[in-house]
Subunit: 215 residues, 2 copies
């Protein structure tokens, strides 16, 4: 009676044997988890929700990721974890400071668009995770901030940036970019590049400004 039960329980992938590895189940789990986390939040999404959406057992998640934190960690690994390196890469290379600043900004926007949901979860839940993930997440946030502060300091020594509060400026830039991944819809009326240019222009003028004294 056990084997008949096993055969009947297979929902729709009956063409494969029960013990056969499903094509990319791990990736399916990651994608499903990202979708649910992004809409309901990390705490608001249960392991069972994810498993049920894919029609698999909850054990699969523990098999692949150990526990719920491990699942979130795996999501971080392929997405947000690479962001600081991208920005620092864009920060290096040639060109004068303003050009490099523009390059960092564009790289940041591109990464945010590529991993939109993952970044959204990261920004919303990063300070509400338990100790382990929090450590990593805080470090990522800091490297990103430092990248912006660094280039803004450069721009300041060149006289392009007037304000001495480069950290506040960096926060403002982060606000614009991080808000972008909350309102941007890929199926919107504007092409991604048009949106990019609009945001880049806003940030550039905001950062550089013109000397005060004009009311």
């Amino acid at each position: 009676m056990l084997d008949t039960n096993t055969n009947e329980a297979v929902p729709d992938n009956a063409q494969e044997g029960a013990g056969r590895e499903r094509t990319g189940l791990r990736e399916e789990l990651l994608q499903t988890a990202v979708d649910l986390f992004a809409t309901r939040g990390f705490k608001g999404t249960s392991i069972r929700d994810i498993a049920k959406t894919l029609g698999v057992s909850v054990s699969v998640i523990y098999h692949y990721f150990g526990n719920k934190e491990g699942l979130w960690s795996a999501i971080l690994d392929y997405s947000v974890k690479g962001l600081p390196a991208r920005l620092e890469a864009a920060l290096g290379g040639g060109g004068h400071a303003l050009e490099r600043f523009r390059r960092v900004l564009r790289a940041h926007l591109a990464a945010s668009a590529l991993y939109q949901k993952e970044s959204k979860i990261f920004l919303i839940d990063y300070d509400r995770m338990s100790a382990a993930g929090d450590q990593t997440s805080k470090a990522i946030q800091k490297r990103v901030l430092d990248a912006y502060v660094g280039i803004l300091e450069e721009l300041r020594t060149e006289g392009l940036v007037k304000s001495a509060q480069t950290k506040i400026l960096a926060f403002n830039v982060l606000g614009v970019v991080n808000w972008y991944l909350r309102w941007y819809r890929p199926d919107g009326p504007l092409a991604p590049d048009e949106v990019y240019e609009e945001i880049v222009a806003f940030v550039l003028y905001g950062v550089i400004g013109t000397p005060p004294g004009q009311s």
Copy 2:
């Protein structure tokens, strides 16, 4: 043994009888809930957490607010719900468009500072609530956005704003302001007004910009 138990169980407000209303328990509950929601999130905070922090029973929360959603709704009532009206009030009144824009911005920043934690919870969890609260929250978000789009359109007809994408500009402004309440610490080195002016300058220059053609 019941009455002795009652007397012993009172932690520090023993001068009042057990059935006497505690001084502002409702406000204490709201404040505690805000603190916990802001650090652990709505889903991450249990009714018991709030009650335990104040050393009271869970029933008092249900007595005052009905249920967990009601508690959140009460928080919204005294804080974020008034934001659209504040902005619209600042939008009215005299002065030319640029001055009114500056006034809206400052009102927005002041409100964000006044209800920092409440706004933070609102912005993080507003699209993860159940139906009732979601309706209200979405309406608030929309009115705030519309206020900014409206004044930006005005600025555009006056030629001060060059870009036709006023909605994206409004999103950018919202990003800066909403991010501000995530990084701002009242005990920081700068006075609130200094921070305000820094942010206002950034947004103003970002919105107005200078005509393109300069690399």
